[in-house]
């Protein structure tokens, strides 16, 4: 089973929830798909046993063969090729690796080369469970290839927890590939409600069953509960706001490490999520 943990925006507690669960469930593999700003390794402190460079392709023009017809530049929807009478110049940072320019070139002047866009680190977390995370290089266009590879590398595992990118971007869509179930982490403020609506819409469109976890419960008001009731969304659990947890978090410690109450809170949360997930796949 693969369970994705998401949120409408950063800072609602997506990493908190996924990491506390991963620390608790030793058989679960945690993958951090928030490759633009991975944070889970701060809490998991993994012993890295493997690294894999992820690459993308980009075109190279053979100036001897180029006939300066400009067809490649006209075709490219990403403005990644500039063409003039004197030269044809691909800009590899803009390229999406679609292969179109090579296809349209009548002179066979375009070939593709590879460059690294990021790295996947594999290892064991300080809790003894398997943990993988990806990191996109600063300034790179898209982490989708890294996320796809993270999913591929864990496809045969029995239980995978996915720390997804925030929001509803293509990266989030990629992270949700093959997820059996999703958990939206939100907070009981007007911002939390507003931001989760887009995620709800996206999950419905993708037909992935999900439930909601209300983080920082007790801080805000009832609007998020009213919204969930109105939309018929089930709430798998609530994590009350606790100042000591927030303080521990600031220095890289997880809630389940600081007290038994927190351990049993996350245990119950996990049982609920699992129950909901199994139920959703019975019908």
């Amino acid at each position: 089973m693969k369970i994705a943990i998401l949120s409408g925006k950063g800072g609602t507690g997506k990493t908190t929830v996924s990491n506390n669960l991963a620390a608790l469930i030793s058989e679960a593999v945690l993958i951090d798909c928030d490759v633009e700003e991975p944070n889970s390794h701060i809490f998991m402190v993994p012993r890295i046993t493997g690294e894999e460079e992820i690459q993308t392709g980009y075109p190279v023009v053979d100036d001897d063969k180029c006939i300066h017809c400009r067809k490649c530049a006209d075709f490219c929807h990403y403005n990644a090729i500039i063409a003039g009478a004197a030269a044809t110049m691909p800009l590899k940072d803009l390229c999406h690796d679609c292969g179109g320019c090579r296809l349209v070139c009548p002179a066979g002047a375009i070939t593709y080369e590879k460059k690294g866009i990021g790295t996947i680190y594999t290892g064991k977390s300080r809790f003894g469970s398997d943990f993988l995370y990806g990191q996109l290089h600063l300034g790179e266009l898209s982490g989708v290839k890294i996320i796809n590879r993270l999913n591929e590398m864990t496809a045969d595992r029995d239980l995978v927890l996915v720390d997804s990118p925030p929001g509803t971007s293509c990266s989030t869509v990629a992270a949700l590939e093959d997820s059996d179930y999703a958990v939206i982490v939100t907070e009981p403020t007007p911002f939390g409600v507003s931001d989760m609506k887009m995620v709800v819409e996206m999950l419905r469109e993708m037909e992935i069953p999900f439930s909601v976890v209300v983080n920082k419960a007790g801080l805000g008001d009832k609007e998020v509960y009213d919204y969930c009731r109105g939309e018929n969304l089930s709430i798998s659990g609530e994590i009350p706001f606790d100042r000591s947890v927030a303080e521990a978090y600031a220095s890289g410690k997880l809630a389940v490490e600081i007290s038994d109450e927190n351990r049993s809170l996350y245990n119950t949360l996990w049982l609920n999520i699992r129950k909901e997930a199994e139920k959703s796949h019975e019908n």
Binding site: A73, H77, Y78, N79, A80, I82, A83, G84, A86, A87, M89, L91, D93, L94, H96, G139, L141
Partner: protein, 121 residues
């Protein structure tokens, strides 16, 4: 020779635009005839790669000098490759002022690219 300015309008009195790739207009001044041509910058509404599309337009209009604010690294490489020399518009408010400063050789060359452009598609 054709000189391009990043401009907010189509006249010599127009204020300079503070963006290169997404400038509103390119005002092109022909030194031989003092004629000006105003082109609406198509790259302004580009989904991504505005800087490179802007360079493409400069190439298409035979521009050899561009007076700009910052230029991103990719556009910078492209300008070099196509022999377009970028000068910094610093100190000028309008196209007219920038042109006068350029004629007096008082505009500095842009040698280093500024921050990376807005190249997300």
């Amino acid at each position: 020779m054709n000189i391009a300015f990043c401009s907010t309008g189509c006249e010599l009195k127009s204020e300079l635009d503070d963006r290169f790739g997404r400038t509103t207009y390119f005002l092109i001044y022909k030194t031989e005839t003092s004629e000006i041509i105003c082109i609406e910058n198509e790259a302004r509404m580009a989904k991504g790669g505005a800087g490179s599309q802007a360079v493409q337009q400069l190439i298409d209009h035979n521009v050899s000098v561009v007076i700009a604010p910052e230029v991103g690294p990719q556009a910078m490489d492209a300008l070099k490759r196509f022999n377009i020399t970028p000068y910094n518009q610093k100190g000028a408010k309008t196209v007219e002022e920038a042109l006068a400063l350029w004629k007096d050789e008082k505009l500095p060359l842009i040698e280093e690219p500024g921050a990376k452009g807005l190249h997300k598609a």
